[in-house]
Amino acid sequence: MSGFANVLTVILVSVGLVFFLAGSVGLLRFPDLHSRLHALTKADNLGLGLIALGVAFQIGEPYAIVKLALVWLLAVLAAASVAQLIARSALDRLPAEGQADRQA
């Protein structure tokens, strides 16, 4: 593996990890469920994407890179759907607040 690829991998994975860290801090520090979900899904999806991209530079086989991209896509799809479901079930549980949110 060339030195250039290694440098790219290190940079991309490091930036990805920063996103993961930010997402985790958001999960712990944000006050309510919806802002926590926001922090978690946005940061982790981007973080995972950057890490997958970084790792892709270490793989010679194109087929394996396709698999890696598929893993990222599926993870984003699942995370986005689950976040929606959690947010909606929380809205249903807090009807008063939910009405206000929906009108806004």
Binding site: L77, A78, S81, R88
Partner: protein, 312 residues
């Protein structure tokens, strides 16, 4: 201490923390959530031990399906109005339990440390014999060839567990539909997800069986993916569970073990029970794997759905 050992030590510490939280968490739902995290971390440990087949099985079955079962049970218990009070036993019992458990750990650890160094195991033997059988993933080779009777029994154990769960159905609901009716908004995210993912899941399951002959993968991992697809379809309200009296369903459940058994008995002609003639071994193993995957998927999905509750 090198970097690899440091990484593994960190992973072990995370595993133990998750296990402690799953065992002692005050909130039952929290304890279950930590158990799922624990299962995923254990799967990572298997990756570190280069046992990717086990990692897949642990992530899919140990963490995934067991987690679904536990969360389902938690919500049914809640609906039934059962107290979740975290009652701890008498301090005396806790002390004795702590001492006994610590003693067990110490004795086991001493036994591990007393093992003579240097190991060869059965791997060379497996690799040597595998060459004649067309399957190059040694784990699949062991599962479906060298220790095929274990796998046959295992597929029957799954089926018996399902029969036992069904046996708890009251007479009034017998032959009915398992599980609660699911309500999902037809234009909601879940319905969209439930339509988008199944085709991908089906392709992935076929791939896992196919890849299982030469790379990590196989019938149990693929069957779990099929079960997950089915659970998602039901949750999204696209199809309902089939009634447990359905002949088609029962055929699907029995097909895998039946084909396995039939080929095994035919093996008597080649010399022994479950012996495959060398020239057909690859084809036969693949045939068993595909039907087994199908049946395992159906069995796992219905195990999660539980006993029949509604009229068909």
């Amino acid at each position: 201490m090198n970097a690899a050992l440091l990484l593994d030590a960190g992973l072990c510490l995370l595993i133990l923390t998750a296990a402690v939280l799953a065992m002692t968490g005050r909130d039952l739902f929290g304890a279950i959530a930590f158990f799922i995290v624990y299962g995923i971390l254990i799967a990572l440990a298997w990756v570190r031990l280069e046992a990717v087949d086990v990692a897949l099985a642990e992530a899919a079955i140990g963490a995934g399906l067991t987690g679904v079962l536990l969360i389902g049970a938690w919500s049914l218990l809640r609906r039934a109005g059962v107290s979740e009070a975290h009652e701890l036993s008498h301090w005396g019992l806790r002390l004795v339990a702590g001492l006994a458990s610590a003693a067990t750990t110490v004795v086991l650890a001493a036994a591990v440390l007393a093992l003579p160094p240097g190991r060869e195991g059965l791997a060379p033997l497996v690799t040597e014999r595998l060459a004649d059988h067309g399957v190059s993933n040694p784990v699949t080779g062991v599962l479906l060839d060298f220790r095929a009777y274990d796998t046959l029994m295992e597929s029957i154990v799954l089926l018996v567990a399902l029969v036992a769960v069904w046996a708890l159905t009251p007479a009034s609901a017998w032959g009915g539909v398992p599980g609660m009716r699911q309500h999902a908004r037809p234009d909601g995210v879940l319905a969209m997800f439930g339509r988008l993912l199944p085709p991908i899941g089906l392709v992935m399951a076929v791939y896992l069986v196919w890849a299982g002959s030469s790379q990590p993968g196989g019938a149990f991992q693929a069957g779990t993916v099929l079960a997950a697809v089915w659970l998602l379809v039901v949750m999204a309200g696209i199809y309902d569970e089939p009634p447990i009296s359905s002949g088609l369903l029962r055929t699907a459940l029995v097909a895998g073990p039946a084909v396995f058994l039939a080929i095994g008995i035919a093996g008597l002609g080649a010399g022994a029970l479950l012996a495959y003639p060398d020239e057909y071994a690859y084809g036969l193993i693949l045939l068993i794997e595909f039907t087994l995957t199908f049946s395992i998927g159906a069995t796992l999905a219905l195990l999660v759905a539980g006993r029949a509750r509604r009229a068909a």
